[in-house]
Amino acid sequence: MTALIFFIFAGIAVFCGVSLVVQKHPIASALSLIGVMGSLAVLYLQLGGEFIAAAQMIVYAGAIMVLFVFVIMLLNAGAEGTSLEGSPFAKYLGIFLLAAFLGLISFIIQAMLPARPGVVFGEWRGGTALEIGRKLFTAYLLPFEVTSVLILIAILGAIVLARKEI
């Protein structure tokens, strides 16, 4: 059951990732990225990270990607034209080399890591909001405060950059 869900959503994630890179229109790429984020949220749920899965949907897919979609719609970014004078030979060689590189990485990852029990859905339930809250406000308090200042700076920067010049 765990393996079935993993394969389905990993397949959706890879398909949407490839679609992100291949699609001509930025809106299609944005929707593919939302598809990737959704399937990754399901995988986080499988790994016991329920709060992170919800945060991924609320923050990433529900706020950051909405921002991307707004900017694409406002700027009326059309589909990309034909590509440069790159030779098709280079494109196909690039795809083959990328696949070979990914295969090599997969082999190295599999060979290096020792054999472990594997992931079973529901075996580890430590990713609740309670646990994250405890760790966040005791051990990781300084990064938490620093990131809130960072967000404040980002808000100020975005407002200053995007306002109308009067």
């Binding site: 809106i27 929707l31 329920e50 919800a54 609320i58 897919a61 909405v66 707004f70």
Partner: protein, 396 residues
């Protein structure tokens, strides 16, 4: 296997009841708005217009679904279905009642209880913005694009006060699941005041409701889909089933928002005063309405009402009898009482939504955004701050 079959049965029941309720919610809305405006509303299709939703469904299905040639076909077709699927998914975590035992099966009246049910509802409503935004953009029409962008900007702006208003009862109850939240609100202070979260969190409740109006694009926040401002906004180019899908999504969102408000603030399915006294309320309500309908059926104002009013009166008296009978059958009593109080509270909130629609004018768009960022957001933060201060000081 047992869990799977049970879940399928529950899902089928909830889906059937919900879809019927959504159709008849539209009938209720039209009738209530009509009577507030001193007219009658749908009257001819079936007795008192009761078959109007059926007629609307038939009309929308058999209408020609025009797909304009200049639209982006994939997103044009995908947007309303995304909106309706996301709107209906949030019903999965909403509990309608306590744990009940029917024969050999013991189950909660809820499709599934997630540990983070409240976050799930927030996540689905965050992603639900895309249905509207894509629908507006895919129509390739400047009014639709403006309507879609304004609507999505409004929805994400009001998610902030919504989330902060939700956070305050979470602090009180110390849990993220809906079941625990309703269990926290059981019991009574001084023996008769219910422990609902609305009593300490009245400001949070008001902020949640206002943000809920804005999230579901209802008046006074419905500029993006107003018919006389933006040529119907983001659903200008939609016809037939896709248009129906957008409207079903809007009503489903309304039901979700009122259900979450009831669970978080109004105590879910718990009655407002203790058990033995509150059991007579459903019987009283239905019996009284039945008697009033029967009385008016004797000298009706319109000729048709000589049949319909006594029929309605007898129906309500029958329901009152069922409630009275259920006092002697514990399993039936648990289900019926929980459903009565939960649906009663949702019904009152839905009536509030419809009442506001008939009464208030709509906000201009900049007034709407200013209201969210300059008034509601600091107010909900203040509410959360005071709540967390009180919780931190009183829990040692």
């Amino acid at each position: 296997m047992n869990f799977l079959i049970l879940s399928l049965i529950k899902a089928a029941i909830v889906a059937f009841v919900l879809l019927t309720a959504l159709a008849y919610l539209q009938w209720i809305e039209r009738k209530v708005i009509a009577h507030i405006q001193l007219r009658v509303g749908p009257y001819r299709v079936g007795p008192h217009g009761l078959l109007q939703p059926l007629a609307d469904v038939v009309k929308l299905i058999t209408k020609e679904g025009v797909i304009p040639s200049h639209v982006n076909k994939l997103f044009y077709i995908m947007a309303p279905w995304m909106a309706v699927v996301l709107a209906l998914i949030s019903i999965a975590v909403i509990p309608f009642g306590p744990e009940i035992t029917i024969g050999p099966v013991t189950t909660w009246m809820q499709l599934t209880d997630l540990n983070m049910g409240i976050l799930f509802v927030l996540a689905i409503s965050s992603v639900g913005v895309y249905g509207v935004a894509l629908g507006g953009w895919a129509s390739n029409n400047k009014y639709s694009l403006l309507g879609g962008l304004r609507s999505s900007a409004q929805m994400i702006s009001y998610e902030l006060p919504l989330g902060l208003a939700i956070a305050a009862p979470l602090l009180l109850a110390n849990t993220l699941s809906f079941r625990e939240m309703v269990n926290y609100q059981s019991g009574y202070w001084l023996g008769f005041i219910p422990r609902w979260n609305v009593i300490p969190e009245i400001l949070g409740f008001v902020v949640f409701l206002i943000a809920g109006f804005a999230e579901t694009n209802r008046v006074p926040f419905d500029l993006p889909e107003a018919e006389n401002e933006l040529v119907a906004g983001f659903h200008t180019e939609y016809s037939s089933m896709k248009f129906a899908a957008f409207f079903m999504a809007e009503y489903a969102n309304m039901v979700t928002v009122t259900a979450v408000a009831t669970l978080l603030f109004l105590g879910g399915w718990h009655p407002p005063f203790p058990e033995p006294y509150s059991d007579v309320i459903p019987i009283l309500v239905f019996a009284l309405s039945g008697l009033i309908a029967l009385y008016h059926g004797l000298h009706p104002a319109r000729r048709m009402d000589k049949f319909t009013l006594p029929a309605v009166g007898l129906l309500f008296l029958g329901i009152a009898a069922i409630f009275g009978l259920s006092l002697f059958v514990p399993t039936l009593k648990a289900i019926l009482m929980a459903l009565f109080w939960f649906c009663g509270k949702i019904g009152i909130l839905l009536f509030l939504f419809i009442w506001v629609r008939a009464t208030l004018p709509r906000f201009r768009y900049d007034q709407l955004m200013r209201f969210a960022w300059i008034f509601l957001f600091p107010l909900s933060m203040l509410n959360l701050f005071v709540t967390s201060l009180v919780v931190a000081l009183t829990s040692k």
